[in-house]
């Protein structure tokens, strides 16, 4: 989630008073307020609008929404001056194939603006740049650089410069091994024989993207007037958008944009701020929104969102990344119209409501059991290994039938394979609560077949009684099936090994439904009770519900 911070004083001076009405406008623009205090306003910027990841970018769009400065804003683009050129060497092709570049001159930086430009760079790296994997931005003080510039790949040991926040010169490899930023982004260059660098006309290394800039040429200060900007990465369209966002933000701060020649086999002039054009069908817009807007109104609304409109064609700002389809423009119309101005409506279409059959059966089972004074539980689908195995008398190393979560942030890192261990866990956590305790749960369990590798997800019922014995559990199960008008047979387990080991041998029974064993019931073995520190006898039953669903009719 990207959050931008705006100085409250500057907001009130340049946009308007931050009263309740203004706060409501901000929310209705689609930039929810995270926090607001005396000094600062923090807004959430959704990932489709990286052009608003700076104060100036937000201001540009929001002033349009408020109706203060509508229509497509055009920026003066100056042609390249002498040596405003970046040559892209073919050595980068398989490493970091593209760059687009620009120069912005006559800037007047103060600490607030420097902070803003560093912030927007970081936020774009994180969002649009996918943590620099897709693209990265470099901004350099022009006075420290000798143009023209070359973008090429070099062997790591041939790369030598003093990176930002370092006391000494380092080689490319050293940076990845020792420098904090190097270590953080090393994975992005892992396995590459050569690393990409920007080099100026005097052969000085400016930076090693996407990792770090040189301390000598890569730091903007309040004295900086002119800057060189490069975006490098893998996605040509995204790089151009990114460059447009950065250069227009700098232009909003007072800078003048100059294009550069970026020389591949052919030469491109970047940035290119020519608006994109897209057709819009007014009927489509009105139909999707349920409105009856006239062309003039639609034109006004589009202009509020920073577009131009003329005769069915919309001109879209070159810094917008999110307009893929007409519907994106229709949403802009809706935002400008104001979500609060739509009248809620429920259409008169006739459809028949219907609950899922399995949910109905599960609810009936719950009703029968609550009628017997059972309390229903609701446990996680994820569980902890020791709870699922060791405490249930199982060796986790022997079980390959359990599904593991790859990267859980907690110690709940497997999917539960039964409900019984959770029932015992809950009894163990409630030893101070008044007895008798009768509990049940219905829910999904997961399993992967060792033989076929097939993954299954099935619905189960587990119930437990404490203090409870075999007879009581059997009574409940028999009552439950009788109430559903279903027949079961309760029998000795065939081979003891097949029955769950947490039961006492000789007090375990299998439950047969439609000729199939659907589960077991019995008294929990004292050694399992002691694992859970339960000091009361427990009888328990767990059965699969899948065959019952089958019998009673599924959806």
């Amino acid at each position: 989630m990207a959050i931008i911070s705006i100085n409250k004083k500057i907001f009130e001076k340049e946009i308007g008073k931050l009263d309740e009405k203004m706060q409501e406008r901000i929310a209705m623009f689609g930039t929810p307020i995270e926090t607001i205090n005396e000094q600062e306003l923090q807004l959430e910027i959704f990932p489709n609008r990286p052009d608003m990841l700076s104060y100036h970018g937000f201001k540009r769009a929001f002033l349009g929404f408020l109706g203060k400065k509508t229509g497509l804003i055009s920026y003066k683009i100056n042609k390249p001056e002498k040596n405003y050129r970046v040559t892209v060497d073919s050595s980068v092709n398989s490493i970091r194939p593209y760059t687009v570049c620009a120069i912005v001159k006559n800037l007047k930086f103060d600490s607030e603006k420097i902070k803003e430009i560093i912030d927007v760079q970081e936020k774009i790296h994180f969002t649009l740049g996918r943590k620099r994997k897709k693209l990265a931005i470099g901004i350099y003080p022009l006075e420290k650089i000798k143009l023209p510039i070359t973008f090429k790949a070099l062997e790591p040991d041939k790369i030598k410069f003093r990176p930002l926040e370092s006391e000494r010169e380092m080689s490319g490899l050293e940076i990845l091994q020792k420098h904090p930023a190097g270590k953080e982004y090393a994975h992005l260059l892992a396995g590459k024989v050569k690393f990409p660098v920007f080099i100026d006309a005097e052969n000085k290394i400016l930076s090693m993207p996407p990792v770090i800039n040189s301390d000598l040429t890569g730091k903007i200060t309040q004295e900086t007037k002119d800057v060189f900007i490069e975006c490098s990465g893998f996605d040509w369209a995204a790089l151009n958008k990114c460059l447009n966002i950065i250069t227009t933000t700098l232009a909003d701060m007072g800078g003048e944009i100059y294009q550069m020649e970026v020389k591949y086999k052919r030469t491109y002039l970047t940035p290119d701020l020519a608006p994109e054009k897209m057709k819009i069908n007014l009927d489509d817009a009105n139909k999707l929104l349920g409105l009856e807007l006239k062309e003039k109104e639609i034109k006004n609304l589009l202009e509020k969102m920073g577009h131009n409109y003329s005769k069915g064609i919309v001109e879209i700002p070159a810094w917008r990344v999110d307009v893929l389809h007409e519907v994106d423009l229709i949403e802009d119309i809706a935002i400008a119209y104001g979500y609060e101005n739509f009248t809620p409506e429920i259409p008169e279409i006739s459809t028949i409501g219907q609950e899922s059959q399995t949910e109905i059966i599960k609810r009936k089972i719950s009703e029968i059991l609550t009628g017997l004074n059972f309390l229903e539980l609701s446990n996680f689908h994820l569980t902890k290994k020791p709870d699922q195995f060791a405490k249930m008398g199982l060796n986790e190393k022997n079980s390959k039938e359990v599904l593991e979560i790859e990267n859980s942030k907690t110690d709940y890192n497997i999917l539960r394979k039964d409900l019984s261990h959770y029932a015992l866990k809950i009894l163990s956590e409630n030893v101070d609560v008044e007895y008798p305790q009768k509990i049940f749960e219905t829910g999904r369990v997961f399993c992967v077949s060792e033989k076929t590798n097939e993954i299954s997800e099935s619905e189960k019922l587990c119930l437990a009684i404490t203090p409870g014995n075999f007879t009581e559990a059997k009574q409940v199960i028999e009552y439950l099936f009788k109430m559903m008008d279903l027949n079961i047979k309760i029998d000795e387990p065939d081979i003891q090994q097949d029955a769950p080991v947490h039961f006492i041998e000789g007090r375990t029974a299998k439950i047969i439904f439609e000729g199939k064993t659907i589960g077991y019931l019995g008294e929990i073995h004292p050694k399992i009770l002691s694992n859970w520190r339960i000091k009361m006898p427990v009888s328990l039953c767990e059965i699969s519900l899948e065959d019952i669903f089958e019998k009673l009719g599924t959806d």
């Binding site: 139909k287 259409p347 028949i352 719950s366 593991e404 709940y412 999917l415």
Partner: protein, 507 residues
């Protein structure tokens, strides 16, 4: 007179049993004479107090008891006695020698010297103790010695000699202890006195109504003892559905009443249904391990026609869209995830509708179920959460209908005041987030994420870009608000005493 008779009809057997003895001041005595234990007697006395027959005054009294050392000295003699006995044989002895031979600790020795000096039994000169008293004095029992023999004693009733002994012993270590004891005094009221004057065996009353009494018809000739209907009875608890499931069932009821049909599906899904079919680019951050639970297994993809259409939608776009313009990877789509939203069920439903040739439109579907995200657990977050999903597939569906359905749902959940703001989801456009007003906290609470599915979603699945209204409100915050639960962890804690106490969902 009538009143007294009526009161007598209220008396329980135990009350009647102790009544003749309540003049006894001592509870122990009442216990002995009535042959009831102390708990029963106290309870019966309380009942009598409720009937205004007695008044019970609880007084706190200070009792002096023998301390740990005191008990020891009671057997072995006080340290000063032991020293005195030694002096009785030695008459004059050096301090070191006296301590050594008397086997007293430093403390005891010091205290003994002090005590004997105070009584003028000894003098100290040049590091020596000189006995300075008569045999007769030595043999006489001291006040302190007699005092510890009589303990425990009530402080209020000590003799002057005992008080003197108490003062001299209270600063010495653990010889005596004082504690407070509650003593119940029974005061018989005017009414009580009247009742006592009556013949108490007035009548034999029926206590519990037994089958025996019914069978023999005893009730015809006897009166029933009156019960105090206002007295407290022990609480009981019944069986109950889990409160979150009660809430889910209610959501089911709302949707079915509005003509929606329930969708059901797996919690384990392919990335294809969870992300790709919903136009979520394969490098989207939500598809990172940081945010989503992945299972280290691959799963099968649906029929190749749909896979192809989805691939096309991502790579080059469909229906005039630009698409995401990257190379879509089938293997990535096979990765197994714990569903991050119930919207994957909507995607599957749309594919089924498309397969069936869109014959049954308009159609409305809903789902209620668990979803997952890779999170740690705190009061407001968890790795499992409840979502309720809805879609409306209708050629004429529009944005006003979307907010119409959501407003109605919020209203039925008890939230009258709602607002809708622009938002972003990769698979809807226009998109919105909905807030409900939290009256207690006086602020908006975000609950809905919704929108109209993008053509990049609907065209590959339905075969045609029909508008589909879609929403997936997180359900947990509403449940928390309705049950007034402050901590999300309560949902999964299964504290049985809380589950027994929590109110039923009455809606």
């Amino acid at each position: 007179m009538e009143d007294i008779k009526k009161i007598a009809e209220y008396l329980s057997p135990n009350e009647k049993r102790i009544l003749p003895f309540i003049k006894e001041k001592d509870i122990q005595e009442i216990c002995r004479k009535s042959a009831l234990d102390k708990v029963a007697v106290l309870r019966a006395l309380e009942y009598l107090q409720n009937k205004k027959i007695v008044i019970l005054n609880t007084k706190k009294e200070k009792i002096v008891e023998i301390g740990v050392n005191g008990a020891l000295y009671k057997r072995k003699g006080l340290p000063e006695r032991r020293l005195l006995n030694l002096l009785d044989t030695k008459k004059i002895i050096s301090l070191e020698e006296a301590q050594k031979q008397s086997k007293l600790s430093d403390d005891e020795f010091k205290a003994s010297i002090g005590a004997l000096k105070k009584k003028a039994f000894i003098e100290l000169k040049n590091g020596k103790i000189i006995l300075n008293t008569t045999k007769e004095e030595i043999s006489r029992k001291s006040l302190e010695e007699s005092f510890i023999e009589y303990l425990p004693l009530n402080i209020a009733s000590l003799t002057p000699e005992q008080k003197f002994a108490l003062d001299s012993l209270k600063n010495r270590r653990d010889i005596i202890d004082t504690r407070e004891e509650s003593i119940i005094e029974i005061e018989i009221t005017e009414l009580g006195k009247k009742i006592l004057k009556q013949d108490l065996n007035i009548e034999d009353l029926i206590e519990s109504l037994t089958p025996e009494i019914l069978k023999k018809g005893v009730w015809k000739s006897k009166k029933f003892r009156r019960y105090n209907v206002t007295s407290q009875v022990p609480e009981i608890n019944g069986g109950k559905r889990h409160f979150v499931n009660q809430a889910s069932d209610y959501a089911r009821k709302i949707w079915t009443e509005m003509g929606f049909k329930e969708m059901n599906g797996n919690l384990l899904q392919s990335s294809f249904w969870n992300f790709d079919a919903l136009f979520t680019a394969q490098d989207h951050p939500v598809r990172e391990m940081q945010d989503t639970f992945f299972i280290n297994k691959k799963t099968e993809l649906p029929a190749s026609k749909i896979v192809k259409a989805v691939k096309q939608s991502h790579e080059k776009g469909v229906n005039g869209s630009k698409g995401w313009q990257y190379s879509w990877n089938e293997e990535e789509a096979k990765r197994l995830v714990l569903r991050t939203h119930t919207t994957c069920l909507s995607a599957q439903t749309l594919a089924k509708l498309g397969e069936a040739g869109l014959k049954e439109l308009p159609a409305k579907f809903f789902a209620v179920g668990k979803c997952f995200r890779n999170e740690t657990i705190d009061w407001g977050h968890g790795f499992e959460f409840n979502q309720t999903e809805g879609i409306v597939v209708d050629e004429n569906a529009n944005f006003k209908h979307l907010i119409g359905y959501l407003k109605e749902f919020a209203k039925k959940m008890g939230f009258e005041k709602v607002r809708f703001r622009p938002a972003y989801f990769p698979y809807t456009e226009p998109s919105l987030e909905g807030d409900v007003w939290n009256e207690e906290k006086q602020k908006w609470m975000e609950v809905f994420g919704a929108g109209i599915f993008r053509p990049e979603v609907t065209e590959p699945l339905l075969g045609k870009p029909i508008p589909v209204l879609a929403w997936g409100p997180g359900f947990d915050r509403m449940i928390m608000r309705i049950y007034n639960i402050q901590d999300l962890r309560e949902f999964y804690k299964n504290d049985l005493s809380l589950l027994r106490k929590i109110k039923f969902w009455i809606k």
